[in-house]
Symmetry: C2
Subunit: 207 residues, 2 copies
Amino acid sequence: MQLKELSEQSGVSAASIKYYLREGLLPPGAAVHATRAQYSAQHVERLDLIQALRRIVGLNIEQIRGILRMADDGASRLELLAAVQRVVLELDSYATVSGEVGTRPADAVVRLRGWPDSPSDARNALNAHLELMESVNIRVPGELLDTYSKAMDDVAGVDIAATTAPDSVDELILTAAVGMHMHSQLLLRLLALAQASHAIRRYEQDA
Amino acid sequence: MQLKELSEQSGVSAASIKYYLREGLLPPGAAVHATRAQYSAQHVERLDLIQALRRIVGLNIEQIRGILRMADDGASRLELLAAVQRVVLELDSYATVSGEVGTRPADAVVRLRGWPDSPSDARNALNAHLELMESVNIRVPGELLDTYSKAMDDVAGVDIAATTAPDSVDELILTAAVGMHMHSQLLLRLLALAQASHAIRRYEQDA
DNA sequence: GGCTTTAGGATAGAGCCACTATCCAATGCG
DNA sequence: CGCATTGGATAGTGGCTCTATCCTAAAGCC
């Protein structure tokens, strides 16, 4: 198919497709001639992925480019997962907490859960965030971290098990990124509901 | 104090303060004369709040204005909490899932946890989100929802207990919004770590 | 009393981002 | 043969949050 049809099938305007081509998000089609190129189903899939990462997960062009480039360079599933995580976690690194990152709390969690031991970005991000929370006086008692990590362990188990056979790299990225985002939003909504409930109980009591 | 000093104390540029005044985020100072106004410590506090909501929580001007207006109109703590939740939850209502909102799953959670019964925005948001997840084929088994809600129940308990005596409305908003955001980010990081761990185990096994 | 500084008001511009539109020459397709 | 389409280039749009400039009037200070 050529550009116009690709646009129709993906629901992305021809102008935007050109933009993505320029930005290196979408690989160029097979150039039949100087003024004619053929696009495939993979291009449609890629466009779907780009759309999802933009509109659902909220990544920007540069972040998407980074991930896709890795995918196209034949990165492993683990590497891709790590890349997706890096980007999603840094969505708002409002303050790059630097300084000596005490690896304590995350290590404890890892030990407690019996997770494989490897000092990852995810672990650093967790430690940095815990420091940040402490610095703004939000207490995170050990038991809470325990409860949280247990819950997350359960999700991850379900998630990874479900992600058995990703047909394509694009699909792997899609499920990883969208899944993380969806679960995170789900938790946020549950937290809101829980908070509202607790607040109601408390303030009614006061009154 | 006057504008310049307010700017120095809050770390917000004079131009931005003027902008916030124009946008109705910051109440005008007490006009001593046509060309002189006095600002108070409350103005500094308000600016801190605005900064936090912008930079940490990532709200836009209109969202902040809405919350602050409620606060200044003397809304109750519950109303304010609800308003904050509404805004934070809608941060990315990528798809306003409408239609007959089956109140089933959230109701079950509420019953299970023994939360006070009131059909709230939070509950609707949860139901809508669960529908959305289902529509993109992300399974959320009942046990998972159970685990999640238990964890969130624990946090909310700690949170609300800690938020005993907010000295000012601004502080209440600050702790609510920042707290929600921080916990949500914490969970996201834990999820990332858990996923990475599970993925490592799984893929190592495969290899 | 004059000089500098500041307030408030208005308006315009900057900078970023993700597009979107226009123009072009070259060329394939019917 | 001629219309439509392509890749390539470039410029413009719209939303958002500031930031900068200009102005007049008045206060503070010596």
